[in-house]
């Protein structure tokens, strides 16, 4: 067996980099734009006078003035202070489905960079056909009857689902009566937050200690003629799959409620289980997770929301349709909830996801699920063998594609908690892990999700690093608590200071204003 590689001597750059405005020197230039030739100038005339008055600036923009070399150095430095999402060991980010996003798709997406969303339909037939075909794929994968790609992210799709549920009950004259949405504590927080924003009361179910999922009795107690819907993630944050999810769905539907399935992270189920067979009325996928497009700071997202036919009329406008000859955008949908975002979603994301799905093929999608689950089972065995780690709920039962572990034991023994270990991981060149959504129902939590693109060596490295840190915690707890020692940024000693609105601002300009500083003079 190959030796496990731990990067003992890793050290991140720490540039102490100023923000770019602080690097500005009046008059300094990156590029000297050549003056147009006299002839051209004369021919063109005063082009600025052709701009409408309201579009003209009164003052010059306050932009940093820096030479080319220093601009490039600045951004190089910043990039060296990151761990490089996508090319890092991102097993850390449980509940986020971090996987490698093939570069070729990024390249392909540049093909549509010049398409404008206001272009006439007849000029974007190719793009619309990709929307149409990708919708078909998601219909096949989920069993739903119609999709929208308008929402810009997962939570946005879940909010759209809540809006559709509101429209559905309203159309039946039952909205006032049906004002309660049921969810579970280990579903994603947006499954409670977005229906709440949409005006519903939220009832949260807690899991049974032994099974790790809520009892049917708890659900039955929660369901009534006031029930509008169930919003549920499965597997939940714990990685435990609710094996009687179809029974849950049935109980809610029999009471007149709708059922929404949060499938943001569908990696463990592609090609294996579908929302339709479990009886759900609607579901969503985070395209920027499961379908291989980047997320976080690497790129925009899309929440693909699918519904069964009885809800299709409520979907946002426009939908993408095909009349046998051409593709078109359908705005003529009188019962639609309207628009939830400008135009028709983030087209490059759909293009990339389409390419990814085509490359995988049906068998490939299933393989994604199988490898994700296998990776997770392998990693779980290794992580649970570390002294100090526990996994709460459903002892001995397999998780699907992620696991919520905890360091409670280690913490009580050494005083080193999950936040300390999270910071220390960075010292080995590995992405800080995701602890847990709030509230921390599981104490000292951490959540790992080793998707299909990680190798066995990645998994071994990951487990070995955590094991090493647990040893360090026993030998020298203060050392771990004082970590990171080798990362670009250090521990936040006074987090409350970062929350101080009188001190900080979101832009340089607002910052200057707040502190009544003169803007640097414009060159």
């Amino acid at each position: 067996m190959a030796k496990v590689k731990i990067r003992e001597n890793y050290h991140q750059a720490r540039w102490d980099e100023p923000i770019i405005y602080e690097l500005s020197t009046p008059g300094e230039r990156g590029i000297l734009v050549p003056q147009p030739e006299r002839e051209i100038r004369e021919e063109a005339g005063d082009i600025l006078s052709k701009l409408p008055e309201n579009m003209l600036r009164k003052e010059k923009p306050n932009l940093p003035e820096i030479s080319q070399k220093h601009v490039l150095a600045h951004y190089l430095h910043l990039s060296q202070e990151t761990l490089g999402s996508n090319l890092n060991n991102d097993i850390s980010q449980g509940t986020c489905t971090m996987k490698y996003n093939p570069r070729i798709n990024e390249k392909l997406a540049t093909l549509i960079h010049e398409v404008h969303p206001l272009q006439d339909e007849s000029t974007i037939q190719g793009l619309l056909s990709i929307y149409y075909r990708f919708e078909h794929m998601l219909k096949e994968i989920s069993g739903m009857d119609k999709f929208t790609f308008q929402p810009g992210g997962g939570s946005h799709a879940v909010y759209t689902a809540a809006s559709i549920i509101r429209a559905y009950h309203e159309s039946r004259g039952e909205l006032e009566q049906r004002n309660e949405v049921i969810t579970t504590i280990f579903s994603h927080p947006c499954d409670a937050a977005t229906p709440s924003t949409a005006g519903f009361k939220i009832i949260t179910l807690y899991p049974n200690e032994e099974t790790g999922v809520p009892d049917v009795e708890a659900l039955k107690e929660a369901v009534s003629e006031r029930t509008a819907a169930l919003f549920i993630t499965n597997p939940e944050d714990t990685g435990i799959y609710n094996p009687i999810i179809d029974e849950f769905v049935k109980i809610v539907q029999e009471a007149g409620g709708l059922c929404f399935y949060d499938q943001a992270n569908a990696n463990g189920m592609l090609g294996i289980a579908r929302a339709r067979e479990a009886g759900f009325d609607m579901c969503h996928f985070n395209v920027h997770k499961t379908f291989g497009t980047p997320h976080g700071c690497s790129g925009p997202g899309t929440g693909a929301l699918g519904v069964r036919s009885h809800l299709a009329k409520f979907l946002p406008v426009p939908t993408v349709e095909y009349d046998g000859e051409k593709y078109y955008l359908d705005y003529d949908r009188p019962e639609s909830i309207g628009k939830v975002r400008g135009f028709f979603g983030v087209a490059p994301v759909i293009l990339k996801a389409y390419c990814w799905t085509m490359m995988m093929g049906a068998d490939g999608l299933r393989e994604v699920a199988e490898i994700s689950v296998l990776n997770n089972n392998y990693l779980q065995k290794k992580i649970e063998a570390i002294d100090g780690v526990e996994t709460w709920y459903a002892e001995g039962r397999r998780r699907l594609e992620q696991v919520r572990y905890n360091w409670r034991k280690l913490y009580e023994e050494t005083g080193v908690g999950t936040d300390d270990i999270m910071r220390r991981i960075g010292d080995y060149g590995i992405q800080h892990y995701w602890t847990s959504h709030h509230p921390w129902v599981v104490p000292e939590p951490f959540t790992l999700e080793p998707c299909e693109t990680y190798s066995k060596a990645d998994l071994d490295e990951y487990a070995a690093v955590l094991e090493r840190i647990a040893e360090e915690a026993r030998k020298d707890p203060d050392f771990v608590k004082a970590s990171p020692h080798k990362c670009a940024s250090h521990v936040i000693a006074k987090p409350e200071e970062l929350n101080d609105p009188s001190k900080w601002a979101l832009t340089w300009r607002a910052y200057l204003k707040k502190h009544k500083k003169e803007e640097p003079s414009l060159g």
Partner: protein, 370 residues
């Protein structure tokens, strides 16, 4: 930084030998005869150990012998020792020491014991001084204790170093141990002490920041008030969670007792069981209760006035449980408990009940009748 440190050396001795506490001289002697060994000093040392690296910055004030001096010097501290040396120590020594420490201006009092000890400290200092308890007793209902000795040490350290600035009110409760050993349980809510608030350490869980908790309590109160029906009696239980209801109604509140409200007016204050039965007398009423103390009880601890008979008269469907999410999370998955002393009433609660956690949020939670 001045830290007061008191150890009740005999706390917890009964537990391992099957007794239910060590209050009362005969019981202690019996515990020792049965082979009980002092547990409390070991736990107290675990807490103090956390402060060891900062020994030079902290002025430690403690009591003679096993009430703190021994534990501290074992760890290398050089504490200032107060009071007089005694062979046998009792509750009065804890009270005396706590009073002295208050007068000496300690910044925080760290003490080890159980519910009895918490009560002694409360009697001496009330809410004049922040405290944190090292759990060492057999049964702990009081919420002034950290969930682990080490955590108590960490809270103390963080508070002294200014890293924790928020203080919360935590219940001081005690069981009548005499009755307890005869199989009857009645825990009284004696009052509230001030405890530095770091959720993660005090209750091992990070369930939300204290400002959020306060906002949540307010939202719950708004919900209860908005849903109040005319001509229905509202029996408002004890505790800090119900306090905002009375405050928002502009009515005087009994923190440690039960008040009755109708049509948003006060009907009676600080009522006993008999008063409630007489006032309600079969008319429509609702009970608003919260979880009291560290063990998760809604009935039978800290609100004995809400007896089995009262509950039967009002009906289970007219009970509203309120609690912040933080409080629910701090139960660590353990059910909410009911122990009214009436088995039939207790059993009626087995199952799931709604807990109102915000204006438009509820948690469906398991309830267990003992």
């Amino acid at each position: 930084m001045k830290l007061g440190f008191i150890v009740n050396p005999i706390a917890g001795m009964g537990g391992k030998v099957g007794l239910k506490g060590t209050d009362g001289k005969e019981v202690l002697e019996k515990a020792i005869r049965l082979g009980a060994k002092p547990e409390s000093p070991i736990k107290a040392k675990k807490a103090l150990e956390v402060l060891k690296p900062y020994m030079d910055e902290i002025e430690l004030i403690t009591c003679h012998g096993s009430m703190g001096e021994e534990e501290a010097t074992d760890l290398g501290f050089k504490p200032r020792v107060i009071g007089e040396r005694k062979d046998k120590v009792g509750p009065e020594d804890t009270e005396e020491a706590a009073k002295l420490m208050l007068d000496m201006g300690v910044d925080l009092l760290l003490f080890a014991g159980g519910d009895g000890t918490a009560r002694n400290v409360y009697n001496a200092i009330g809410d004049k001084l922040p405290v944190i308890g090292i759990p060492a007793g057999v049964k702990i209902h009081s919420a002034v204790y950290a969930n682990h000795p080490r955590s108590a040490g960490e809270v103390a350290l963080k508070y002294l170093r200014g890293e924790i600035k928020t203080i919360r009110e935590a219940e001081v409760m005690d069981i009548d141990e005499e009755a307890f050993r005869k199989g009857q349980v009645t825990a009284k809510l004696y009052g509230y002490m001030r405890v530095p608030y770091e959720r993660q350490l005090v209750q091992s869980l990070k369930a939300g920041r204290p400002e959020q908790e306060e906002a949540a309590q307010d939202a719950v109160a708004d919900r209860i008030i908005d849903e109040m029906e005319p001509d229905v009696f509202y029996i408002i239980g004890s505790g800090t969670s119900t306090r905002p209801i009375m405050e928002k109604l502009g009515l005087p509140n009994t923190l440690l007792g039960i008040d009755i409200v109708k049509n948003k007016e006060l009907v009676a204050s600080d009522v006993g069981e008999k008063d409630i039965l007489r006032i309600i007398n079969g008319q429509k009423a609702k009970i608003i209760v919260t979880i009291i103390g560290g063990q998760g009880y809604i009935f039978g601890r800290g609100n004995q006035q809400l007896s089995g008979e009262v509950i039967k008269m009002v009906g289970k469907e007219n009970i509203r449980i309120i609690a912040t999410k933080g409080k629910i999370v701090s139960l660590g998955g353990q059910p909410i408990l009911v122990d009214t002393g009436d088995d039939e009433v207790n059993r009626m609660f087995n199952g799931y009940m709604r807990v109102i956690t915000s204006y438009n949020e509820e948690i469906m939670y398991r309830v267990k009748g003992l």
